[in-house]
């Protein structure tokens, strides 16, 4: 490493900044790319945990979150730019990186705005106040005569950059609280549709994804997968592999098999050859012959009463209007467009990993346990990848790259999954069954409500446990399988946001046959789909308008406003034969964004459902970037419609058979509805997580519209399975 580079990075205070400032990364293998140079680098209580002043006049923001296409980089830029009254072009962002950014856990649950952006807002407001006070003391000029703009403090003719004012040090003061927040008053950048800076790079082909990292001397790897989840390697003829073009190494640890080659396509071809030669034993355990939802009901469950308010049993039994229904949601997949990828580099006991994982610190801890290395010897840097919508193969591929790098040290090892690996080996969003019962009085008010759900756990994130990582189970070290995971994911939004006379909800958590982990909205997708379908059924039973029926059961004016607006925005549709309108509402997690949606669908003679248009109204409290919020919500609505109409993971006795875009079809252009989203900006309120708010309601609105169009109530997803097109 040259002294110039070391000097350069020292000026920044640490060395982790690499990629964003250095352009397309192409480091020499011998370089060490990071080094924390002071101890309090990641204290969340101090200003410099979140914000650094750079010598060139820019400000560096450190977020512990990763960019997933949700626009967090732009949102944190906006809140910091606002508090520092500094042009967003002068704000640089360092995404999650161990030893550099604060440990913010996972980028998940639509929490990045509520947590990271708010911490950065406070840190930037504290920095502004501190910097102005410093200048005031140094110049002997009263605070009110000073102005901070674009990284410069001025008073009359006097000017000083923030860097000069700090004389090269960083603000390590406590953030404290009760700062004046310009984002609530001035709103020069916050609340504005500031375009994302990364979009220019995306349309030029120069945006850097983890898939695109290039290091000098980098090598490429591929994994050879067993026949099924539980099969083990029986035999492999390794003879002559070394003669294949580009061959560098075959890595074989227990039943974990990988190949390393000079070039990517060479690695692919060698992996095909190894795949042809490998034989596997065991592993024909996937349930076949019975419908999945029947099979799931036969599994052992862990049952818990989640909510119990009032005498629901009597209320239902004695109600003049009674209704019961059961709903099913199959396994669905994240299905990232770009297969999971990571780069790992191992040298002299130290490991570096570049990853699109949603949690760099938890991944580091888990890698330490898997590889039996001290955490301090592992550096994990978050780099944007293809949109993942939850916990996909990101951590798995990082662990695989790390295992290979340890076996093949001193060169960067890049591993990207193939399409069929991404489809067949990622952890899916679990299948769920929801059973509901309700009793209504003569006025159409719900007096009794009973809700039962059957689900696998929804999250199997690493959290230090090697067995959560796919390769761990093939190392023959007896890690076992991860168990059912995060129960809270299954019950998310299982309690309706409505005011009900009495209420009883129970969850039954099973351990299902296939891998699963967090997928956008977790259980809220299926729970809201079921609750909002059932609310629609009840409205018809009670002879009420479905929107009025919901409003009659809501006390929260923000919820009611969303529904009223969506009804207005979607009113006056001229419906043809076999066309209908459907509505739905939920407040994500019952604490985050409010979202109401209307759908206009048409059903053709063959029963194929086509969504023509969707209207959404979202209230996320204070809006940081209205265009970003709209973009996320539009995408969420269409993705949810695709889940509901098209998507279902399938398997036979041995394999996942959904292996590509033909066997797992998702919405393409000609199926896309028009979408219209209205944002309700409430400056006085807290900003609320929004990226998952649309999923459940959008699916239910489509289902309700189908009923409105045809009188057919669909309770099992997907609506348009592949077989329907073959009839």
């Amino acid at each position: 490493m040259t002294s110039t580079r070391r000097e350069f990075v020292k000026q920044l205070g640490f060395v982790g900044i690499g990629f964003s400032l250095m352009g397309t990364a192409c480091f020499g293998s011998e370089e060490k790319h990071y080094q924390a140079v002071n101890d309090d680098f990641s204290s969340p209580d101090r200003i410099n945990g979140w914000l650094r002043v750079l010598e060139d006049g820019r400000v560096l923001i450190l977020t512990g979150k990763i960019e997933l296409g949700q626009g967090i980089r732009t949102a944190v830029t906006q809140v910091a730019a606002e508090e520092l009254n500094t042009n967003p072009d002068l704000v640089e962002v360092n995404l999650a990186e161990t030893g550099v950014t604060v440990n913010e856990g996972y980028t998940a649950g639509s929490r990045s705005i509520e947590t990271s952006a708010m911490s950065i807002r406070n840190a930037a407001a504290a920095a502004r106040e501190k910097l102005l006070r410093l200048a005031s003391e140094e110049w002997g000029i009263p605070l009110k005569e000073l102005r901070l703009e674009d990284g410069i403090i001025s008073a009359g003719n006097r000017k000083i950059t923030l860097y000069e004012l700090l004389k090269g040090r960083q603000l390590n003061e406590d953030i404290g609280d009760s700062h004046a927040i310009l984002g609530k008053t001035t709103r020069k950048y916050v609340g504005q549709p500031i375009p994302r800076k990364d979009i220019s790079d995306m349309v030029n082909g120069s945006h850097e994804y983890v898939q695109d990292l290039r290091f000098s001397n980098m090598v490429h790897a591929r994994i050879i997968r067993p026949d099924s989840y539980t099969s083990g390697l029986q035999s492999l003829d390794e003879s002559g592999l070394e003669d294949l073009p580009g061959f560098l190494k075959l890595v074989r640890i227990g039943s974990f098999l990988g190949v390393i080659a000079e070039e990517e396509y060479q690695a692919i071809k060698i992996s095909w050859e190894v795949n042809d030669r490998a034989t596997w034993r065991g592993g024909k355990e996937l349930p076949m012959g019975v419908p999945l939802k029947e099979h799931l009901k036969t599994l052992r469950v862990d049952t818990k009463t989640e909510e119990a308010e009032g005498d629901w049993e009597t209320a239902i039994r004695e109600a003049p209007i009674q209704h019961a229904a059961a709903y099913f949601k199959p396994y669905i997949m994240h299905a990232a467009n770009g297969p999971s990828c990571a780069v790992a580099y191992f040298q002299k006991g130290e490991l570096e990993v570049w990853t699109h994982s949603q949690g760099v610190y938890p991944l580091r801890e888990t890698l330490a346990n898997l590889l039996e290395l001290p955490e301090g010897s592992i550096h994990v840097k978050g780099v944007p990848g293809s949109g993942c919508y939850g916990h996909n193969g990101a951590d798995d591929v990082a662990a695989e790259a790390a295992l290979l790098a340890v076996e093949y040290p001193e060169r960067h090892v890049r591993l990207q999954w193939m399409r069929d690996e991404e489809h067949r080996w990622e952890p899916y969003g679990t299948a769920m069954i929801m059973e509901l019962e309700a009793g209504l009085n003569r006025d159409g008010k719900i007096e009794g409500w009973k809700y039962e759900l059957w689900s696998d756990g929804h999250s199997s994130r690493p959290n230090g446990r090697p067995e959560t990582l796919l390769p761990a189970r093939y190392l023959d070290r007896g890690y076992g399988v991860p168990g059912p995971g995060f129960r809270g994911g299954a019950t998310r939004n299982s309690k309706p946001y409505y005011t009900l006379g009495s209420l009883h909800t129970r969850s039954h958590i099973f351990e299902g046959p296939v891998r699963r982990s967090a997928l956008r909205a977790l259980g809220a997708f299926a729970n809201v789909f079921a609750i909002e379908s059932f609310m629609d059924e009840l409205a018809y039973k009670a002879g009420k308008d479905p929107v009025d029926f919901r409003i009659d059961h809501l006390d929260d004016v923000r919820a009611i406003t969303c529904l009223q607006k969506v009804r207005n925005n979607s009113s006056g549709q001229r419906l043809k034969d076999r066309e209908g309108m459907g509505y739905a509402f939920a407040r994500y997690k019952n604490t985050a964004s409010y979202f109401a949606v209307a759908a206009h669908v048409g059903v053709d003679e063959g029963g194929i459902v086509r969504v023509k248009k969707m209207w959404g109204v979202i209230d996320s409290g204070e809006t940081i970037n209205p265009d970003g919020l709209k973009n996320q919500t539009e995408g969420g609505m269409i993705q949810a419609a695709s889940w509901a109409l098209r998507e279902e993971v399938k398997f036979d006795k041995e394999h996942i058979t959904s292996r590509d875009w033909h066997t797992y079809p998702i919405f393409r252009f000609q199926e896309i509805p028009e979408v219209e989203v209205e944002v309700i900006d409430r400056v006085e309120e807290k900003p609320l997580g929004a990226g998952e708010a649309a999923q459940g309601p959008a699916a239910a609105a489509v289902i309700n519209a189908i009923f409105n169009a045809t009188g057919d109530r669909i309770r099992d997803l997907p609506v348009n399975p592949v077989e329907k097109y073959l009839r």
């Binding site: 349309v203 120069s206 898939q211 070039e263 396509y265 467009n337 995408g635 993705q639 393409r668």
Partner: protein
């Protein structure tokens, strides 16, 4: 391994690769043009779309041996500075979320608009049917293609 003479983004290159190597990997690994993305490798998703003599082509299914003496354009070669009308429209409509598929979307759109500079929305959708966007930024893509068509005509 044989050598192949390629013309990519107006520049001549000689690359040494096995004859069956898909153009996608040659672009990414030999020429460091990583804007073209691997998505499926089997022509189902459109992420790897480039232009071969002006026509949109799936680079994952195009063997390097078949593209000597033709003009290959990748996303990096569409314009010097992101000023192609389709790129400009993309920025204006704030299209991408994660952006991974967007290079392929743009390359498909550019070649389509050359064939049909004044498309209807239905024609845009039909032309773009082969390009998947998992973030579902489809409506904005459609809008950007329509905006660009107005600029081109």
């Amino acid at each position: 391994m044989p050598n192949y003479n390629l013309t990519v983004n107006g520049k001549a290159f000689t690359v040494e690769a096995a004859a069956d190597t898909p153009l996608l990997w040659v672009l990414r690994d030999h020429l460091n043009l990583v804007g073209t993305k691997y998505g499926c490798g089997i022509g189902q998703c459109g992420s790897c779309t480039v232009h071969v003599d002006g026509e949109a082509r799936r680079s994952c299914l195009t063997p390097v041996a078949s593209v000597e003496n033709v003009k290959i354009i990748t996303i990096e070669g569409l314009s010097e500075d992101g000023s192609h009308p389709v790129q400009v429209a993309w920025k204006k409509a704030d299209v991408p979320q994660c952006g991974y598929c967007q290079a392929g979307q743009i390359m498909t759109a550019v070649s389509f608009l050359k064939e049909n500079p004044t498309p209807s929305n239905e024609e845009i959708r039909r032309a773009m049917q082969g390009n998947i966007c998992r973030c579902a930024a489809y409506n904005r893509i459609e809008k950007a293609v329509a905006m660009a068509s107005e600029k081109i005509t």
